[in-house]
Amino acid sequence: MLYSDKVMEHFGSPHNVGVIENADGVGEVGNPVCGDIMKITIKVSDDHLDDIKFQTLGCGAAIATSSVVTDMARGMSLADAVKITKAEIAEELDGLPPAKMHCSVLAADGLRAAVDDYLMKSGREPISGGPEDVDGDVHGPAEA
């Protein structure tokens, strides 16, 4: 199992690490038993992602996918952000080993959860349609 250079770049120097104070939306997915937990905080203006930060407990792929999804989503409209798929995240990283694809699911789900959280807090309907997956890869809500 080998990681691409892109994965190693994002893992070694992840982008957008941290927590946005007074965030408009928070998404927390994964659980300690499976070993990966991701928290995304977003700042929204005019239904666009003004700022986005993450915190992740997890393996190299979990950290790299978290980092890259924040890069991809920054500046996007909420409607576009929730359409980011695990495949697009993996592609952005020049691929992930098959056993690590669930990490890209986690990143996509974390982003969706943050967007839905913002919408619900604003009294609007969630738009993500829930977690993307399938295949027993679903990460439940964080339990910690």
Binding site: P32, L57, C59, I63, A142
Partner: protein, 396 residues
């Protein structure tokens, strides 16, 4: 300038000692015959093979040289011991006991037997990293034919009470095999004193070559050959013997035994230096099996609130090679079966880091590891959304 590399994964494999390489060389290009041939080249190779066998038999304290069978490695030795002993004489049923934290080479052999008519019991080790003889006694049955418990656990470093376990098996008429790939040459291993019927060893764990191992098989046992063909190795293991490998194994083991007393003290001191420094500088961290007899070269570290693979990758980038039992390193989503077998909770087992020292490990290497690991752990914990919540209140 070459990048500094600090290799702290000797339990995975070792660098072949240059003295071993030198001892093997003539058997590639000079004494290259097939040891089963009748001509001079064959006879010379046969002499070299039997020389290696005799040296290994003496070092293991086997009663006869033909109790030593050369194999392709630890996995083949384990597979053939379990399957060869269980199915000997056409047997198709019976009860087998293996510990739950065996190497997969043993576990999967047991699983295979379980699918082919045998009844398999997984014996649970305790949280101290040990299999207890009293638990084995309780698990043994009238129809138990074979017990297999490893000598030293590869992730925890703990040493199992093999003599007691073998005696318990024998009292109920069962055979006893041990996978000693991890312990050979590191602690005393005497097949007669331990009373085992079969034992598996690997060349590359003792600074010998990869692709060669030994199966010790006590004389007089019924055994179904696992590799079939030309009837080599006393009809127990077919295939033209790896003469350079056998010579390399014998030389590697001789060096291990000659240096064992001093090396054991040296490695124990280095290991203690490592553990004292890490536990002193990192909160929420512990070492497995410290209350149990342990091998001198393995530290099974648990760093709470950090994922093992992330630590491994950061250390690798700093030039340090270690390993982890975290789920993410395994391809499955399960944490190490060894850690789960000793009731380490999944969320903590993900933070495992195995550091294993070797012949060329220095104090400077240990200090470099500690100085590198501390900031890596701090960085990863700071990046975690749950560290403070889960472990922040348990500073220790």
């Amino acid at each position: 300038m070459t990048e500094r590399r600090v290799y702290l994964d000797s339990a995975a494999t070792t660098r072949t000692d240059p003295r071993v390489v030198a001892a093997m060389e003539p058997f590639f290009t000079e004494t290259y015959g097939n040891p089963n041939s009748l001509h001079a080249e064959g006879r010379a190779a046969s002499t070299a093979l039997e020389d290696a066998r005799g040296r290994v038999a003496r070092l293991l304290n086997a009663s006869r040289a033909d109790e030593v069978l050369f194999t392709s490695g630890g996995t083949e030795s384990d597979n053939s011991a379990l399957i060869g002993l269980a199915t000997a004489g056409g047997r198709t049923s019976g009860h087998i006991i293996v510990s739950a934290f065996e190497h997969h080479a043993v576990l999967e052999s047991a699983e295979w037997l379980g699918k082919h008519g045998f009844d398999v019991t997984l014996l649970k080790p305790h949280s101290d990293g040990l299999v207890y003889a009293e638990d084995l006694e309780a698990a043994l049955r009238e129809d138990t034919i074979l017990v297999s418990v490893m000598h030293g656990n590869n992730e925890l470093g703990t040493l199992q009470p093999i003599a007691d376990l073998a005696a318990a098996a024998h009292r109920r008429g069962a055979l006893f095999h041990t996978d000693a790939a991890q312990t050979l040459g590191k602690v005393a291993f005497d097949v007669t004193a331990l009373g085992v019927d079969a034992a598996s060893f690997s060349g590359h764990k003792i600074y010998g070559p990869k692709g060669v191992g030994v199966l010790y098989l006590k004389k007089g046992l019924r055994f179904a050959p696992y590799l079939m063909g030309g009837g080599q190795e006393f009809r127990k293991r077919s295939g033209t013997q790896n003469v350079p490998g056998a010579q390399g194994f014998a030389t590697a083991l001789e060096i291990m035994e000659a240096e064992r007393a001093d090396e054991s003290v040296r490695l124990t001191n280095l290991r203690d230096r490592l553990e004292t420094a890490i536990l002193g500088r990192l909160e929420n961290t512990y070492v497995n099996g410290t209350q149990s007899p342990r091998m001198p070269h393995i530290t099974g570290l648990i760093v709470k609130g950090v994922e093992g693979e992330a630590m491994l990758l950061h250390l690798d980038a700093k030039g340090i090679a270690v390993s982890t039992g975290s789920a993410c390193s395994s391809g499955s989503l399960q944490a190490s079966h060894v850690l789960l077998a000793i009731d380490c909770p999944q969320e903590i087992a993900h933070g495992s880091l195995r550091v294993s020292l070797g012949r060329w490990t220095t104090e400077a290497d240990i200090d470099y590891l500690v100085d590198s690991l501390v900031p890596v752990v701090e960085l990863l914990r700071a990046m975690s959304p749950v560290y403070e919540k889960m472990f922040g209140g348990q500073r220790a």
